[in-house]
Assembly symmetry: C2
Homo-oligomer: 254 residues x 2
Protein backbone atom coordinates (compact mmCIF):
# COMPACT_ATOMS: atom_id res chain seq x y z
CA UNK A 1 0.00 0.00 0.00
CA UNK A 2 1.51 3.31 -1.02
CA UNK A 3 0.58 6.83 0.02
CA UNK A 4 -0.47 5.97 3.59
CA UNK A 5 0.39 8.94 5.82
CA UNK A 6 -1.54 8.01 8.97
CA UNK A 7 -2.75 4.81 10.62
CA UNK A 8 -5.70 4.25 12.94
CA UNK A 9 -5.15 1.19 15.09
CA UNK A 10 -7.89 -0.79 16.78
CA UNK A 11 -6.96 -1.84 20.32
CA UNK A 12 -8.35 -5.06 21.79
CA UNK A 13 -7.62 -7.98 19.49
CA UNK A 14 -5.38 -5.92 17.22
CA UNK A 15 -2.69 -4.32 19.41
CA UNK A 16 -3.23 -6.28 22.59
CA UNK A 17 -5.22 -9.05 24.24
CA UNK A 18 -6.01 -9.29 27.96
CA UNK A 19 -4.20 -5.95 28.27
CA UNK A 20 -0.90 -7.41 27.06
CA UNK A 21 0.68 -6.28 23.76
CA UNK A 22 0.52 -8.83 20.95
CA UNK A 23 3.93 -9.91 19.59
CA UNK A 24 5.40 -7.18 17.41
CA UNK A 25 2.70 -4.61 18.25
CA UNK A 26 4.95 -2.18 20.11
CA UNK A 27 7.68 -2.44 17.45
CA UNK A 28 5.06 -1.75 14.75
CA UNK A 29 3.95 1.47 16.40
CA UNK A 30 7.58 2.56 16.79
CA UNK A 31 8.44 1.79 13.15
CA UNK A 32 5.33 3.60 11.88
CA UNK A 33 6.21 6.71 13.89
CA UNK A 34 9.88 6.53 12.77
CA UNK A 35 8.76 6.44 9.13
CA UNK A 36 6.79 9.69 9.62
CA UNK A 37 3.40 8.03 9.77
CA UNK A 38 0.94 9.53 12.26
CA UNK A 39 -0.65 7.00 14.62
CA UNK A 40 -4.02 7.12 16.37
CA UNK A 41 -5.65 4.56 18.66
CA UNK A 42 -9.36 3.93 18.18
CA UNK A 43 -11.80 1.77 20.15
CA UNK A 44 -15.54 1.26 20.63
CA UNK A 45 -15.13 0.18 24.22
CA UNK A 46 -17.54 1.67 26.74
CA UNK A 47 -16.44 -0.50 29.66
CA UNK A 48 -13.62 1.86 30.53
CA UNK A 49 -13.23 5.61 30.34
CA UNK A 50 -10.84 7.38 27.98
CA UNK A 51 -8.61 8.08 31.00
CA UNK A 52 -8.53 4.40 31.97
CA UNK A 53 -7.84 3.19 28.43
CA UNK A 54 -5.04 5.76 28.12
CA UNK A 55 -3.55 4.46 31.38
CA UNK A 56 -3.51 0.96 29.85
CA UNK A 57 -1.87 2.21 26.64
CA UNK A 58 0.70 4.12 28.65
CA UNK A 59 1.52 1.15 30.89
CA UNK A 60 1.94 -1.10 27.83
CA UNK A 61 4.16 1.53 26.14
CA UNK A 62 1.95 2.49 23.18
CA UNK A 63 1.35 6.17 23.95
CA UNK A 64 0.92 8.66 26.73
CA UNK A 65 -0.68 11.32 24.52
CA UNK A 66 -4.42 11.69 25.24
CA UNK A 67 -4.90 13.33 21.84
CA UNK A 68 -3.88 10.13 20.10
CA UNK A 69 -6.71 8.06 21.62
CA UNK A 70 -10.30 8.10 20.34
CA UNK A 71 -12.95 6.15 22.22
CA UNK A 72 -16.62 6.07 21.17
CA UNK A 73 -17.78 8.20 24.15
CA UNK A 74 -15.12 10.85 23.53
CA UNK A 75 -16.01 10.93 19.83
CA UNK A 76 -19.68 11.25 20.82
CA UNK A 77 -18.89 14.21 23.08
CA UNK A 78 -16.86 15.89 20.30
CA UNK A 79 -19.63 15.19 17.76
CA UNK A 80 -22.31 16.64 20.06
CA UNK A 81 -20.37 19.86 20.65
CA UNK A 82 -19.70 20.15 16.92
CA UNK A 83 -23.49 19.91 16.39
CA UNK A 84 -24.02 22.74 18.87
CA UNK A 85 -25.56 20.42 21.47
CA UNK A 86 -24.59 20.88 25.10
CA UNK A 87 -27.57 19.67 27.18
CA UNK A 88 -27.88 15.88 27.24
CA UNK A 89 -29.06 12.88 29.21
CA UNK A 90 -26.57 10.05 29.57
CA UNK A 91 -27.82 6.47 29.28
CA UNK A 92 -24.28 5.12 29.23
CA UNK A 93 -22.20 2.74 31.36
CA UNK A 94 -21.03 4.43 34.59
CA UNK A 95 -17.33 4.12 33.64
CA UNK A 96 -17.78 6.43 30.64
CA UNK A 97 -19.83 9.21 32.24
CA UNK A 98 -16.66 11.20 32.90
CA UNK A 99 -16.02 11.34 29.12
CA UNK A 100 -19.05 13.64 28.82
CA UNK A 101 -17.87 16.15 31.42
CA UNK A 102 -17.85 18.93 28.80
CA UNK A 103 -21.64 18.59 28.42
CA UNK A 104 -24.40 19.54 30.84
CA UNK A 105 -26.83 16.87 32.02
CA UNK A 106 -30.39 18.20 31.71
CA UNK A 107 -33.23 15.75 32.38
CA UNK A 108 -35.88 18.43 31.82
CA UNK A 109 -35.10 19.62 28.30
CA UNK A 110 -32.23 17.61 26.86
CA UNK A 111 -31.13 18.25 23.27
CA UNK A 112 -29.82 14.69 22.95
CA UNK A 113 -30.23 11.28 24.54
CA UNK A 114 -26.83 9.53 24.49
CA UNK A 115 -27.27 5.77 24.74
CA UNK A 116 -24.89 2.86 25.18
CA UNK A 117 -24.92 -0.62 26.65
CA UNK A 118 -26.73 -0.45 30.01
CA UNK A 119 -27.35 -4.18 30.33
CA UNK A 120 -29.80 -5.04 33.11
CA UNK A 121 -30.44 -1.32 33.75
CA UNK A 122 -32.60 -1.14 30.62
CA UNK A 123 -36.18 -1.42 31.81
CA UNK A 124 -39.62 -0.14 30.87
CA UNK A 125 -39.46 3.00 33.01
CA UNK A 126 -36.09 4.10 31.59
CA UNK A 127 -37.12 3.39 27.99
CA UNK A 128 -40.36 5.30 28.55
CA UNK A 129 -38.46 8.32 29.89
CA UNK A 130 -36.08 8.19 26.94
CA UNK A 131 -39.06 7.94 24.58
CA UNK A 132 -40.58 11.11 26.07
CA UNK A 133 -37.28 13.02 25.76
CA UNK A 134 -37.14 12.00 22.10
CA UNK A 135 -40.77 13.04 21.58
CA UNK A 136 -39.78 16.38 23.10
CA UNK A 137 -37.29 16.85 20.27
CA UNK A 138 -34.05 15.40 21.66
CA UNK A 139 -31.70 13.70 19.17
CA UNK A 140 -30.89 10.01 19.71
CA UNK A 141 -27.13 9.43 19.74
CA UNK A 142 -25.89 5.83 20.09
CA UNK A 143 -22.35 4.91 21.12
CA UNK A 144 -22.84 1.68 19.17
CA UNK A 145 -25.70 -0.41 17.84
CA UNK A 146 -24.53 -3.98 18.28
CA UNK A 147 -27.16 -6.71 18.43
CA UNK A 148 -25.62 -8.90 21.13
CA UNK A 149 -22.37 -10.00 22.67
CA UNK A 150 -21.07 -13.16 24.30
CA UNK A 151 -20.75 -13.48 28.07
CA UNK A 152 -19.52 -16.73 29.56
CA UNK A 153 -20.52 -18.62 26.45
CA UNK A 154 -24.06 -17.17 26.33
CA UNK A 155 -25.42 -14.52 23.98
CA UNK A 156 -26.59 -11.36 25.76
CA UNK A 157 -28.48 -8.36 24.35
CA UNK A 158 -26.22 -5.40 23.59
CA UNK A 159 -27.29 -1.75 23.19
CA UNK A 160 -28.64 -2.19 19.64
CA UNK A 161 -32.05 -3.69 20.47
CA UNK A 162 -32.80 -0.87 22.93
CA UNK A 163 -31.72 1.76 20.41
CA UNK A 164 -34.02 0.03 17.88
CA UNK A 165 -36.90 0.10 20.39
CA UNK A 166 -36.47 3.85 20.91
CA UNK A 167 -36.17 4.50 17.17
CA UNK A 168 -39.41 2.61 16.53
CA UNK A 169 -41.30 4.21 19.41
CA UNK A 170 -40.36 7.81 18.59
CA UNK A 171 -40.16 7.42 14.81
CA UNK A 172 -36.56 8.66 14.70
CA UNK A 173 -33.23 7.34 13.50
CA UNK A 174 -30.28 7.22 15.87
CA UNK A 175 -26.95 8.76 14.97
CA UNK A 176 -24.40 6.04 15.71
CA UNK A 177 -21.05 7.57 16.63
CA UNK A 178 -18.85 4.53 17.34
CA UNK A 179 -17.23 2.42 14.65
CA UNK A 180 -18.36 1.63 11.92
CA UNK A 181 -20.08 5.03 11.59
CA UNK A 182 -18.72 7.65 9.24
CA UNK A 183 -19.05 10.15 12.13
CA UNK A 184 -16.46 8.22 14.14
CA UNK A 185 -13.88 8.09 11.36
CA UNK A 186 -14.52 11.74 10.44
CA UNK A 187 -13.67 12.86 13.98
CA UNK A 188 -10.58 10.62 14.14
CA UNK A 189 -9.28 11.79 10.73
CA UNK A 190 -10.10 15.42 11.47
CA UNK A 191 -7.06 16.09 13.64
CA UNK A 192 -4.57 14.39 11.31
CA UNK A 193 -4.30 17.07 8.66
CA UNK A 194 -4.30 14.51 5.85
CA UNK A 195 -7.00 13.34 3.45
CA UNK A 196 -9.10 10.30 4.43
CA UNK A 197 -7.71 8.41 1.44
CA UNK A 198 -4.21 8.63 2.94
CA UNK A 199 -5.34 7.01 6.20
CA UNK A 200 -5.39 3.26 6.87
CA UNK A 201 -7.61 1.73 9.54
CA UNK A 202 -6.24 -1.52 10.96
CA UNK A 203 -8.42 -3.89 12.93
CA UNK A 204 -9.68 -7.42 13.58
CA UNK A 205 -13.38 -6.66 12.91
CA UNK A 206 -14.18 -6.82 9.21
CA UNK A 207 -17.50 -4.98 9.69
CA UNK A 208 -16.67 -2.29 12.22
CA UNK A 209 -13.03 -1.66 11.35
CA UNK A 210 -12.57 -2.50 7.67
CA UNK A 211 -16.06 -1.90 6.26
CA UNK A 212 -16.71 1.26 8.29
CA UNK A 213 -13.33 2.75 7.33
CA UNK A 214 -13.82 1.99 3.65
CA UNK A 215 -17.28 3.61 3.60
CA UNK A 216 -15.72 6.70 5.19
CA UNK A 217 -13.09 6.86 2.42
CA UNK A 218 -10.20 5.31 4.38
CA UNK A 219 -8.32 2.14 3.51
CA UNK A 220 -9.23 -0.92 5.54
CA UNK A 221 -6.65 -3.44 6.71
CA UNK A 222 -7.75 -6.68 8.37
CA UNK A 223 -5.57 -8.50 10.92
CA UNK A 224 -5.97 -12.23 11.51
CA UNK A 225 -5.90 -11.90 15.31
CA UNK A 226 -8.50 -11.19 18.02
CA UNK A 227 -12.08 -11.77 16.88
CA UNK A 228 -10.99 -12.56 13.30
CA UNK A 229 -12.36 -15.88 12.08
CA UNK A 230 -11.35 -17.68 8.84
CA UNK A 231 -13.77 -16.63 6.12
CA UNK A 232 -14.28 -13.09 7.47
CA UNK A 233 -12.55 -11.77 4.34
CA UNK A 234 -14.88 -13.72 2.00
CA UNK A 235 -18.01 -11.65 2.66
CA UNK A 236 -19.25 -8.47 0.98
CA UNK A 237 -16.39 -6.43 2.44
CA UNK A 238 -13.04 -6.84 0.65
CA UNK A 239 -10.17 -5.49 2.80
CA UNK A 240 -7.56 -3.35 1.04
CA UNK A 241 -4.98 -5.56 2.68
CA UNK A 242 -4.87 -8.54 5.03
CA UNK A 243 -2.01 -9.27 7.40
CA UNK A 244 -1.51 -12.19 9.76
CA UNK A 245 -0.96 -9.77 12.61
CA UNK A 246 -0.17 -6.13 13.25
CA UNK A 247 3.52 -7.15 13.33
CA UNK A 248 3.44 -7.40 9.53
CA UNK A 249 2.01 -3.92 9.06
CA UNK A 250 5.24 -1.91 8.57
CA UNK A 251 6.26 -4.18 5.68
CA UNK A 252 2.95 -3.45 3.98
CA UNK A 253 2.93 0.33 4.36
CA UNK A 254 5.68 1.98 2.33
CA UNK B 1 -71.98 0.18 -1.72
CA UNK B 2 -73.38 -2.84 -3.53
CA UNK B 3 -72.46 -6.49 -3.28
CA UNK B 4 -71.60 -6.47 0.43
CA UNK B 5 -72.51 -9.86 1.88
CA UNK B 6 -70.76 -9.69 5.25
CA UNK B 7 -69.68 -6.97 7.64
CA UNK B 8 -66.84 -6.95 10.17
CA UNK B 9 -67.55 -4.46 12.95
CA UNK B 10 -64.93 -2.92 15.18
CA UNK B 11 -66.02 -2.71 18.82
CA UNK B 12 -64.76 0.08 21.07
CA UNK B 13 -65.45 3.46 19.46
CA UNK B 14 -67.52 1.97 16.66
CA UNK B 15 -70.30 -0.10 18.29
CA UNK B 16 -69.94 1.07 21.88
CA UNK B 17 -68.09 3.39 24.21
CA UNK B 18 -67.48 2.78 27.90
CA UNK B 19 -69.23 -0.55 27.36
CA UNK B 20 -72.51 1.13 26.34
CA UNK B 21 -73.90 0.80 22.80
CA UNK B 22 -73.65 3.93 20.67
CA UNK B 23 -76.99 5.28 19.42
CA UNK B 24 -78.34 3.11 16.60
CA UNK B 25 -75.66 0.45 16.95
CA UNK B 26 -77.94 -2.37 18.09
CA UNK B 27 -80.54 -1.52 15.42
CA UNK B 28 -77.79 -1.55 12.78
CA UNK B 29 -76.71 -5.07 13.69
CA UNK B 30 -80.35 -6.25 13.65
CA UNK B 31 -81.04 -4.66 10.25
CA UNK B 32 -77.85 -6.11 8.74
CA UNK B 33 -78.76 -9.59 9.95
CA UNK B 34 -82.37 -9.20 8.70
CA UNK B 35 -81.06 -8.26 5.25
CA UNK B 36 -79.07 -11.51 5.07
CA UNK B 37 -75.72 -9.92 5.78
CA UNK B 38 -73.35 -11.94 7.98
CA UNK B 39 -71.93 -10.03 10.92
CA UNK B 40 -68.64 -10.53 12.77
CA UNK B 41 -67.18 -8.57 15.66
CA UNK B 42 -63.45 -7.83 15.51
CA UNK B 43 -61.14 -6.18 18.04
CA UNK B 44 -57.43 -5.80 18.80
CA UNK B 45 -58.02 -5.56 22.54
CA UNK B 46 -55.71 -7.59 24.75
CA UNK B 47 -56.96 -6.17 28.03
CA UNK B 48 -59.81 -8.65 28.21
CA UNK B 49 -60.14 -12.28 27.14
CA UNK B 50 -62.40 -13.44 24.33
CA UNK B 51 -64.76 -14.81 26.98
CA UNK B 52 -64.94 -11.46 28.78
CA UNK B 53 -65.47 -9.46 25.58
CA UNK B 54 -68.21 -11.90 24.57
CA UNK B 55 -69.90 -11.39 27.94
CA UNK B 56 -69.89 -7.64 27.26
CA UNK B 57 -71.35 -8.11 23.77
CA UNK B 58 -74.01 -10.46 25.17
CA UNK B 59 -74.97 -8.09 27.99
CA UNK B 60 -75.29 -5.20 25.51
CA UNK B 61 -77.37 -7.36 23.16
CA UNK B 62 -75.01 -7.62 20.16
CA UNK B 63 -74.40 -11.37 20.09
CA UNK B 64 -74.05 -14.43 22.25
CA UNK B 65 -72.31 -16.51 19.58
CA UNK B 66 -68.62 -17.04 20.38
CA UNK B 67 -67.95 -17.83 16.71
CA UNK B 68 -68.93 -14.31 15.71
CA UNK B 69 -66.20 -12.65 17.78
CA UNK B 70 -62.56 -12.37 16.71
CA UNK B 71 -60.02 -10.91 19.11
CA UNK B 72 -56.32 -10.57 18.28
CA UNK B 73 -55.27 -13.35 20.73
CA UNK B 74 -57.88 -15.77 19.39
CA UNK B 75 -56.83 -14.99 15.83
CA UNK B 76 -53.20 -15.54 16.89
CA UNK B 77 -54.06 -18.94 18.36
CA UNK B 78 -55.93 -19.93 15.18
CA UNK B 79 -53.07 -18.67 12.99
CA UNK B 80 -50.49 -20.63 15.02
CA UNK B 81 -52.43 -23.88 14.75
CA UNK B 82 -52.89 -23.29 11.03
CA UNK B 83 -49.09 -22.95 10.73
CA UNK B 84 -48.67 -26.28 12.54
CA UNK B 85 -47.28 -24.63 15.66
CA UNK B 86 -48.42 -25.91 19.05
CA UNK B 87 -45.55 -25.22 21.48
CA UNK B 88 -45.28 -21.56 22.44
CA UNK B 89 -44.21 -19.10 25.09
CA UNK B 90 -46.74 -16.42 25.98
CA UNK B 91 -45.49 -12.87 26.58
CA UNK B 92 -49.06 -11.53 26.70
CA UNK B 93 -51.24 -9.72 29.22
CA UNK B 94 -52.56 -12.11 31.91
CA UNK B 95 -56.20 -11.59 30.87
CA UNK B 96 -55.61 -13.13 27.45
CA UNK B 97 -53.59 -16.20 28.46
CA UNK B 98 -56.78 -18.29 28.48
CA UNK B 99 -57.24 -17.57 24.75
CA UNK B 100 -54.19 -19.73 24.07
CA UNK B 101 -55.46 -22.77 25.97
CA UNK B 102 -55.34 -24.86 22.78
CA UNK B 103 -51.56 -24.45 22.66
CA UNK B 104 -48.89 -25.94 24.93
CA UNK B 105 -46.55 -23.63 26.81
CA UNK B 106 -42.95 -24.86 26.38
CA UNK B 107 -40.19 -22.65 27.73
CA UNK B 108 -37.48 -25.12 26.69
CA UNK B 109 -38.07 -25.46 22.96
CA UNK B 110 -40.91 -23.17 21.87
CA UNK B 111 -41.82 -22.96 18.19
CA UNK B 112 -43.14 -19.43 18.64
CA UNK B 113 -42.84 -16.47 20.99
CA UNK B 114 -46.24 -14.74 21.18
CA UNK B 115 -45.84 -11.14 22.32
CA UNK B 116 -48.28 -8.40 23.31
CA UNK B 117 -48.34 -5.36 25.54
CA UNK B 118 -46.69 -6.31 28.84
CA UNK B 119 -46.09 -2.75 30.05
CA UNK B 120 -43.77 -2.57 33.06
CA UNK B 121 -43.16 -6.33 32.86
CA UNK B 122 -40.84 -5.81 29.88
CA UNK B 123 -37.33 -5.84 31.27
CA UNK B 124 -33.84 -6.88 30.22
CA UNK B 125 -34.09 -10.42 31.57
CA UNK B 126 -37.37 -11.15 29.78
CA UNK B 127 -36.18 -9.63 26.48
CA UNK B 128 -32.97 -11.63 26.76
CA UNK B 129 -34.90 -14.88 27.27
CA UNK B 130 -37.14 -14.06 24.31
CA UNK B 131 -34.06 -13.28 22.21
CA UNK B 132 -32.58 -16.70 22.99
CA UNK B 133 -35.83 -18.48 22.09
CA UNK B 134 -35.81 -16.64 18.77
CA UNK B 135 -32.15 -17.54 18.19
CA UNK B 136 -33.20 -21.14 18.86
CA UNK B 137 -35.55 -20.94 15.88
CA UNK B 138 -38.86 -19.83 17.42
CA UNK B 139 -41.09 -17.58 15.27
CA UNK B 140 -41.96 -14.12 16.61
CA UNK B 141 -45.72 -13.54 16.61
CA UNK B 142 -47.00 -10.12 17.72
CA UNK B 143 -50.60 -9.45 18.77
CA UNK B 144 -50.03 -5.86 17.63
CA UNK B 145 -47.11 -3.53 16.95
CA UNK B 146 -48.34 -0.15 18.15
CA UNK B 147 -45.73 2.46 19.02
CA UNK B 148 -47.40 3.97 22.09
CA UNK B 149 -50.74 4.71 23.71
CA UNK B 150 -52.11 7.41 25.95
CA UNK B 151 -52.63 6.85 29.69
CA UNK B 152 -53.94 9.67 31.85
CA UNK B 153 -52.80 12.21 29.29
CA UNK B 154 -49.26 10.83 28.99
CA UNK B 155 -47.77 8.79 26.18
CA UNK B 156 -46.68 5.30 27.22
CA UNK B 157 -44.71 2.70 25.25
CA UNK B 158 -46.91 0.00 23.72
CA UNK B 159 -45.81 -3.46 22.54
CA UNK B 160 -44.29 -2.23 19.26
CA UNK B 161 -40.93 -0.97 20.56
CA UNK B 162 -40.27 -4.28 22.35
CA UNK B 163 -41.20 -6.25 19.23
CA UNK B 164 -38.81 -4.00 17.29
CA UNK B 165 -36.06 -4.66 19.86
CA UNK B 166 -36.48 -8.43 19.47
CA UNK B 167 -36.60 -8.19 15.68
CA UNK B 168 -33.35 -6.23 15.64
CA UNK B 169 -31.60 -8.47 18.16
CA UNK B 170 -32.47 -11.77 16.49
CA UNK B 171 -32.49 -10.51 12.89
CA UNK B 172 -36.06 -11.68 12.32
CA UNK B 173 -39.35 -10.09 11.29
CA UNK B 174 -42.41 -10.52 13.50
CA UNK B 175 -45.69 -11.78 12.12
CA UNK B 176 -48.29 -9.30 13.35
CA UNK B 177 -51.65 -11.00 13.75
CA UNK B 178 -53.90 -8.19 15.03
CA UNK B 179 -55.44 -5.52 12.83
CA UNK B 180 -54.19 -4.12 10.41
CA UNK B 181 -52.40 -7.33 9.40
CA UNK B 182 -53.62 -9.36 6.42
CA UNK B 183 -53.38 -12.45 8.67
CA UNK B 184 -56.09 -11.04 10.94
CA UNK B 185 -58.54 -10.29 8.16
CA UNK B 186 -57.81 -13.63 6.45
CA UNK B 187 -58.81 -15.54 9.59
CA UNK B 188 -61.94 -13.41 10.10
CA UNK B 189 -63.06 -13.76 6.46
CA UNK B 190 -62.21 -17.45 6.38
CA UNK B 191 -65.34 -18.62 8.19
CA UNK B 192 -67.74 -16.44 6.20
CA UNK B 193 -67.83 -18.42 2.99
CA UNK B 194 -67.75 -15.28 0.85
CA UNK B 195 -64.95 -13.59 -1.07
CA UNK B 196 -62.96 -10.86 0.68
CA UNK B 197 -64.24 -8.33 -1.88
CA UNK B 198 -67.80 -8.90 -0.60
CA UNK B 199 -66.83 -8.06 2.98
CA UNK B 200 -66.88 -4.57 4.50
CA UNK B 201 -64.81 -3.70 7.55
CA UNK B 202 -66.30 -0.86 9.61
CA UNK B 203 -64.25 1.00 12.19
CA UNK B 204 -63.06 4.28 13.70
CA UNK B 205 -59.32 3.71 13.06
CA UNK B 206 -58.37 4.71 9.53
CA UNK B 207 -55.04 2.86 9.73
CA UNK B 208 -55.93 -0.36 11.53
CA UNK B 209 -59.53 -0.80 10.36
CA UNK B 210 -59.83 0.88 6.97
CA UNK B 211 -56.27 0.63 5.63
CA UNK B 212 -55.68 -2.90 6.90
CA UNK B 213 -58.99 -4.15 5.46
CA UNK B 214 -58.33 -2.56 2.08
CA UNK B 215 -54.85 -4.09 1.83
CA UNK B 216 -56.44 -7.49 2.58
CA UNK B 217 -58.91 -7.01 -0.30
CA UNK B 218 -61.93 -5.98 1.83
CA UNK B 219 -63.78 -2.69 1.65
CA UNK B 220 -63.05 -0.18 4.37
CA UNK B 221 -65.73 2.00 5.95
CA UNK B 222 -64.75 4.77 8.36
CA UNK B 223 -67.08 5.94 11.15
CA UNK B 224 -66.77 9.43 12.60
CA UNK B 225 -67.01 8.24 16.22
CA UNK B 226 -64.53 6.93 18.82
CA UNK B 227 -60.91 7.75 18.02
CA UNK B 228 -61.84 9.36 14.66
CA UNK B 229 -60.48 12.87 14.31
CA UNK B 230 -61.37 15.35 11.53
CA UNK B 231 -58.80 14.97 8.76
CA UNK B 232 -58.28 11.22 9.29
CA UNK B 233 -59.84 10.67 5.85
CA UNK B 234 -57.46 13.11 4.14
CA UNK B 235 -54.31 10.97 4.46
CA UNK B 236 -52.94 8.27 2.17
CA UNK B 237 -55.84 5.93 2.98
CA UNK B 238 -59.10 6.73 1.16
CA UNK B 239 -62.05 4.91 2.79
CA UNK B 240 -64.54 3.22 0.45
CA UNK B 241 -67.24 4.97 2.43
CA UNK B 242 -67.50 7.34 5.38
CA UNK B 243 -70.49 7.48 7.74
CA UNK B 244 -71.13 9.78 10.67
CA UNK B 245 -71.79 6.76 12.85
CA UNK B 246 -72.57 3.07 12.59
CA UNK B 247 -76.28 4.01 12.73
CA UNK B 248 -76.00 5.14 9.10
CA UNK B 249 -74.49 1.88 7.90
CA UNK B 250 -77.67 0.02 6.80
CA UNK B 251 -78.58 2.89 4.47
CA UNK B 252 -75.17 2.58 2.80
CA UNK B 253 -75.10 -1.18 2.31
CA UNK B 254 -77.68 -2.36 -0.21
Amino acid sequence: MTGVRAVLLDLDGTLFEDRRPLPGALATVQRLRASGCAVRFVTNTTERSHREVLEDLCRMGFTEDAEELYTAPVVAAKWLRREGIDRVVLLVPPATREDFASLAVDEEHPEAVVAGDLGEAWDFALLNRAFRWLRGGARLVALQKNRYWQREGELVLDAGPFIAALEFAAGVEAVVVGKPSAAFFAVAVDGLGVAAGSVAMVGDDVQNDVGGAQRAGLRGVLVRTGKYRPGDEQGAIVPDFIVDSVADLPDVIR
